[in-house]
């Protein structure tokens, strides 16, 4: 039994070292991935149509000439707007996490 232990212990150590080595390697690989590609780590968040519809309703509340529809993540704008108000509306809509914004507004 004692003899067995003598053989087994070093064997365990070797196996253990081997594992920890693998672990280090995989950690290194991960680090390289994040640092070389830091600008594309988080996936693009697209809200569901229901959430988008609520957000669009709030965002366009004070834009009476603007109609906004939501379909499959895309917001489509029709109607009329003054140019000096366009950026304010676009800033709100861009923060809702849409897939895309189709601006078909007539600009006055």
């Amino acid at each position: 039994m004692k003899k067995f232990k003598n053989i087994f212990l070093p064997l365990l150590l070797v196996v253990g070292l081997g594992f920890s080595d693998c672990k280090n390697k995989s950690e290194k690989t991960n680090t390289v991935n994040t640092s070389s590609d830091s600008s594309s780590t988080a996936p693009v968040k697209i809200e569901s149509d229901d959430v988008l519809k609520n957000g669009v309703k709030d965002a366009t509340k004070d834009f009476p000439g603007v109609t906004a529809t939501v379909n499959n993540g895309e917001i489509t704008l029709t109607g009329e707007i003054n140019r000096d108000r366009l950026q304010i509306l676009m800033q709100s809509l861009n923060s809702l996490h849409p897939k895309k914004i189709n601006n078909n507004l007539t600009i006055k």
């Binding site: 709030d58 965002a59 800033q91 996490h97 897939k99 601006n103």
Partner: protein, 138 residues
């Protein structure tokens, strides 16, 4: 990568003006730019570059969401055109109005509920949610 080329000036400006958590991704012919800044002017500047590259935001190939982070307890001014700003019980225009903040009034921002709504308190002690678009950093 074509869109990153088209909006290179914008992406470069976001990088040099210290936008944090900057994410630039291209997916199905749309470029998504997300990030955060503590300076409202940085956001305005990025939007004027966007408007220069894509006049009147017609192309539909960029979704830019650079948020202005507001520290809890910071002051903000009500920038409605002329009218009062509704203070609501919850974050949504379907929520009941619990108070009003006057045009140009300075209020205290307690927290941001999401990208659209902020929880604020007026000097008179009225507390509730307002649409963040009508608040400007002081």
């Amino acid at each position: 990568m074509a869109l990153q080329e088209k909006y290179k000036q914008l992406i470069d400006a976001a990088k040099t003006s210290g936008v944090s958590n900057l994410q630039v991704r291209e997916q199905n012919n749309v470029l998504y730019v997300d990030g955060e800044t503590s300076n409202g002017q940085v956001k305005d500047n990025l939007w004027s570059i966007y408007n220069k590259i894509d006049p009147d935001f017609r192309a539909g190939d960029l979704v830019m969401n650079v948020k202005v982070s507001t520290a809890s307890g910071s002051k903000a001014k009500v920038i409605t055109k002329t009218s009062n700003l509704n203070i609501r019980k919850g974050p949504g225009t379907d929520q009941p109005i619990v108070g009003k903040a006057a045009h140009d009034e300075v209020v205290t921002v307690l927290s941001k509920s999401n990208d659209q709504w902020s929880l604020i308190k007026t000097d008179e002690g009225e507390e509730g949610y307002v649409y963040s678009q009508y608040l400007a950093q002081v």
